[in-house]
């Protein structure tokens, strides 16, 4: 299984859990579907923590891991990054409907979220 897929699944479990999980808990959640080594899960969590995507904290005897941002926050951040290209911030990405100012985008995300509810 590709390394990216595993990282994505670990993040999904953490987001779904809604609370900080131990390596053991993540390991058990993942192993409902397949057979992974405990150390593999530990390595993935460690890597995600190094990237700043997951926060690690010592709780009693075990380390607990929680996402640094909710899925919604991270998605909004990614979309903001995608849309807010200006010549000063380099032409890194290409878009179908064109560029928005960060303010317009924040308003658009907000509005779309309200419609959803």
């Amino acid at each position: 299984m590709a390394r990216n897929d595993l990282e994505r699944e670990v993040m999904a479990k953490l987001w779904d859990a809604g609370e900080a999980l131990t390596v053991r808990q993540v390991f058990e959640l993942l192993n409902r579907d397949r057979d992974l080594a405990y150390t593999t899960v530990m390595t993935v969590l460690d890597r995600l923590a190094k990237k700043g995507l997951v926060i690690q904290r010592k709780d009693d005897r075990a380390y607990r891991y929680a996402p640094a941002q909710t899925r919604e926050e991270m998605t909004a951040g990614v979309m903001l990054d995608a849309l807010s290209a200006t010549p000063d911030r380099d032409a890194a990405l290409a878009y179908f409907v064109g560029r928005l100012s960060p303010e317009a985008l924040t308003a658009a995300i907000e509005k779309a979220r309200n419609i959803e509810r």
Binding site: E72, A82, D90, A91, V97, A112
Partner: protein, 303 residues
């Protein structure tokens, strides 16, 4: 004389021609030629600037007819100026590309993590990523390991043929490496000293590249679905309050307008535009070479 001619050409190309090309509408029917013309215009303007810097002191010293220390100093100075121009452009290009790469790498990592695999539902292609967000949004992350990103708002607003048209559009950007074109113009923009900077070429080239991708997508998915996708995504992104002031609204209108007719591109205009782009690039050389040839021919009988 050479320096004067080059200077005049350089000024025309950097002041007058961009204004004309930015407001031109024939480029909508020949977007590839439009991009080529912008590239050759920019490159020729740079070559002219270099030519002036190098030719002027040389000509002045030849007119003075002496090898004064002053003329040597002037020559060295002009060489230094030319070197500065070239180095500044190269540094800017390296900066822009490396920053863009870093940003894309991080972006790719994040969309890979956020991908909602279970919602792919038969969408073709392993590079597609789906974000969980109601705001309809479609874009690509170029590079060696590219991604096409859709929000699931897009999947809600568009039907399958329209989604395929959007994917075809983004894949055209990736296949034709449009990011390299945008990076080079961004690098040029940032290398120009602040007060002289002009964003018009960047915006014009960006729009032309969208049109090139539109043409590729229409060939694959048909203009009907593409047009519908463009309209629906535009409507879904609330911009109402700023449409009047926003040039983006105008570019969308132009993209939609050219998808209305049976064929958007004109072969004749494309050929003419491409020839003009090639001609433009050759001009400084002609200006330099012709007087030199004339002098050489003048000298011929006396040998």
């Amino acid at each position: 004389m050479t320096a004067l001619l080059l200077g005049a050409l350089g000024l025309t190309l950097s002041l007058l021609a961009p204004k004309l090309l930015a407001t031109a509408r024939w480029t909508d029917r020949a977007p590839v030629a439009g991009v080529l013309l912008w590239q050759s215009l920019t490159l020729t303007a740079v070559l002219c600037a270099l030519g002036v810097v190098l030719a002027a002191p040389e000509e002045a010293s030849r007119a003075a007819g002496a090898r004064h220390p002053e003329t040597v100093a002037a020559l060295l100075f002009s060489l230094a100026v030319a070197a500065t121009i070239v180095i500044r452009l190269i540094v800017s290009l390296v900066k822009v590309t490396s920053r863009a790469r870093a940003r894309r790498d991080r972006h790719r990592m994040l969309v890979d993590l956020l991908d909602r695999v279970e919602r792919h539902d038969g969408l073709s292609g392993g590079e597609v990523r789906i974000l969980e967000a109601p705001l309809p949004l479609a874009y690509c992350v170029p590079g060696r390991d590219p991604r096409v990103v859709l929000s699931d708002g897009v999947l809600k607003v568009l039907d399958r043929p329209q989604v395929d048209a959007v994917l075809a559009h983004e894949r055209a950007h990736l296949r034709h490496k449009h990011e390299l074109v945008m990076e080079s113009f961004t690098a040029f923009y940032q290398a120009v000293p602040g007060p002289l900077r002009d964003k018009a070429p960047l915006d014009a080239v960006h729009l032309l590249l969208e049109m090139v991708a539109d043409d590729a997508a229409r060939r694959r998915a048909g203009s009907g679905p593409l047009r519908a996708a463009l309209e629906r995504l535009t409507d879904a992104v609330p911009l109402a309050e700023e449409v009047t002031a926003d040039p983006e609204g105008e570019s969308r209108r132009r993209r939609l307008a050219r998808l209305e007719g049976p064929v958007a591109s004109s072969v004749a205009l494309t050929v003419a535009g491409t020839a003009a782009a090639a001609g433009l690039l050759v001009l400084p050389t002609v200006i330099l070479v012709v007087p030199w040839l004339a002098r050489a021919l003048d000298a011929w009988p006396f040998q």
